[in-house]
């Protein structure tokens, strides 16, 4: 149980970071942390206490096996996360070129 709570705390850290930080790079790090917490949760869903690896063979009986599917899902989700992060950092670099700052309180020309 405690490991799920730790996962939740990690996710909350990421969300806190996104909501409270003023530096764009720190916000991106917050997004990454929250993303990793979600991925960790998917892996935890697959975990079985003292389970064995999910390899099918004729003689071994199928009992208490770790669920292999979420691992495949996590790999996909990590790749998507990579694309998002790369794009976010690319936008952040361009923002620095235009505004000369990473501080979001000074990057707010759009309102209304």
């Amino acid at each position: 149980m405690s490991i799920y709570l730790l996962c939740l705390i990690l996710f909350s850290c990421g969300i806190y970071c996104i909501l409270r930080k003023r530096n764009i790079i720190k916000i991106i790090i917050g997004v990454i942390i929250a993303e990793y917490a979600a991925h960790l949760f998917l892996v935890l869903v697959a975990y079985r206490m003292r389970g064995r690896s999910p390899i099918f063979s004729a003689e071994a009986e199928i009992k208490n096996m770790v669920d292999p599917l979420p691992h495949a899902l996590v790999l996909t989700a990590i790749v998507i996360g990579l694309a998002t992060t790369a794009l976010l950092i690319g936008i952040a670099m361009r923002i620095y070129e235009k505004y000369g700052t990473f501080d979001i309180t000074r990057i707010r020309e759009l309102k209304g």
Partner: protein, 500 residues
């Protein structure tokens, strides 16, 4: 099964178009337009074929790579899917034609078309897939392409809006992913029909409620429902006009509204509480979006706020859950995708010739740009709900459905906001197209031919859109979609039957 080979084409054709464009478009300039328009034309034609096939054969399924669902990934073509495919691909075709002239002022047009087709492929994938994790993957493809397209101009405002949009929508996607993880841990399957089957057998557990909350947050963020709307009024105006039309016209509907409908109605199964929540969120978006739009002077920003308000109407109609309400909501979804695309293309035409988006600086443009003026007035009247344009009929159906269901409060607000919408579009017409021509605009000309062509087509659909309600037309197009939703979890049985 006969005809099910068409299903994967909806993902393969746009991805192929994007690939060809990135390969050849850089070398041969003229080829970009040809590939772009022909790909979107093929998709538009294919979606009409799919609609015909659905009406002839009923529900169609396709197993990706020959792996049978629920183990493999399944793709499903039912009434709602066929309806959404026609809506998305028709709007995308008109927008692709418009972009031929409009995107000339940007460098590297091939990059624009490549991202455009990646986004379109993602949207078609979301609509056609029958697997919940696959839905998430396609949703992210469409979303990442749209972040890049919002930042396409790489000026100060575009970048700021794109960053805000990207961060907020990534968080929304995370909520969706967590919701999928919770549902998977409970049902041990990812196929939507199979998941619905297991959920129906095991009854409503607390974990489903948690997953539903996560889905409302995640997809609500994509659909820009109030209070998750903050990114939309920045992101939509900052993008180039064809992309604004695409984002406001179809992206928020296919990623947000469609996903909400599919998961809540067909997989989890809707009950009174969910219905009440959806209706409340819909009414809130309708009111807040309408009030905020009224005070805007930036034309595209006004249109963006108005999108929030109209999405509210759609969710209010669909959330009501009666067959008539769902019919009205879906019809309004189709109409909104047409007239909001048209309005954004009009604003793009004005920006193309005059270079401004400020309503106070315009005036009398209708005399110099007759076609833009006429199509703009048609779209404005349609969205404001003036008979006989299409927007009037869909709003009327939603309001009648609300009254029939005894929700007089919501019906009252729907009427009030309709009047408010009329007020804001009268403002647009008065300041942009009517009045005295400003001296600065004495020498402007009407926009080039392809932009005219695309705006003209959309305006014609706005005028004749109301005809879709005639019994002969309604059957094939709207009825199937409405039945797919109002039959709710019967989707599960039908899909599982057709897989076997």
């Amino acid at each position: 099964m006969a005809g099910s080979g068409i299903i994967p084409l909806f993902v393969a054709v746009p991805l192929g178009g994007a690939f060809l464009n990135s390969l050849l478009g850089k070398k041969v300039k003229r080829l970009t337009d040809i590939i772009g328009v022909s790909t979107s034309f093929i998709l538009c034609a294919l979606s009409l074929v799919a609609l015909r096939l659905y009406n002839a054969n009923g529900i169609l399924t396709h197993s990706v790579g020959g792996w049978r669902p629920p183990i493999g990934i399944g793709m499903v073509l039912d009434g709602l899917t066929a309806f959404m495919l026609v809506t998305v691909n028709f709007a995308a075709f008109c927008i692709a034609v418009y972009s031929i002239n409009y995107m000339e002022k940007f460098t590297s047009k091939w990059k624009f078309y490549t991202l455009f087709f990646l986004m379109l492929g993602g949207m078609n994938g979301v609509i056609i897939t029958g697997d919940i994790f696959n839905l998430f993957v396609f949703l992210e493809i469409a979303a990442v392409a749209s972040y890049a397209l919002v930042a396409f101009g790489t000026e100060r405002h575009e970048l700021e809006a794109a960053f805000k949009y990207a961060v907020m929508c990534t968080v929304g996607s995370l909520f969706v992913l967590l919701g999928i993880a919770f549902l998977y841990s409970y049902t041990s399957t990812l196929n939507m029909a199979d998941m619905g089957n297991i959920l129906a057998q095991s009854g409503n557990a607390n974990i489903t409620i948690l997953a539903m909350i996560l889905f409302i947050m995640g997809f609500g963020l994509k659909a820009a429902l109030v209070p998750f709307h903050a990114w939309l009024p920045d992101a939509h105006p900052s993008a180039p006009a064809p992309i604004s039309a695409m984002l406001s016209g179809v992206l928020i509907k296919s990623l947000g509204v469609y996903a909400i409908c599919r998961i809540f109605y067909n997989v989890i199964g809707v009950n009174e509480n969910i219905s009440a929540i959806l209706m409340f969120l819909g009414a809130l978006s309708m009111i807040v979006g309408g009030l905020l739009a009224l005070g805007q002077w930036d034309l595209k920003r006004l249109l963006a706020y108005s999108s929030i308000s109209q999405i509210g109407y759609i969710i209010l109609g669909i959330g009501l859950g009666t067959p008539l309400g769902i019919l009205g909501g879906l019809f309004h979804l189709f109409n909104h995708s047409i007239f909001k695309s048209l309005l954004f293309l009009n604003s793009g035409a004005i920006e193309y010739t005059t270079g401004t988006r400020d309503l106070q600086k315009m005036g009398g443009l209708g005399s110099r740009m007759p076609l833009t003026g006429i199509t703009g007035v048609v779209a404005s009247m349609s969205i404001a709900g003036i008979p006989p344009f299409s927007g009037f009929w869909s709003k009327l159906i939603i309001i009648i459905a609300l009254v029939q269901a005894g929700k007089f409060g919501y019906a009252f607000w729907a009427v009030i906001i309709s009047v408010l919408t009329l007020a804001m579009y009268v403002k647009v017409i008065k300041y942009a197209f009517l009045g005295k021509l400003k001296e600065a605009w004495g020498s402007i000309k009407e926009v080039p031919i392809f932009m005219k062509l695309s705006m003209g087509t959309l305006a014609v659909v706005c005028v004749v859109g109301g005809m879709l309600l005639l019994s002969g037309m309604q059957g094939p197009f709207l009825q199937g979609a409405q039945e797919a939703l109002s039959e709710g979890t019967k989707y599960v049985a039908v899909v599982l039957e057709s897989i076997k």
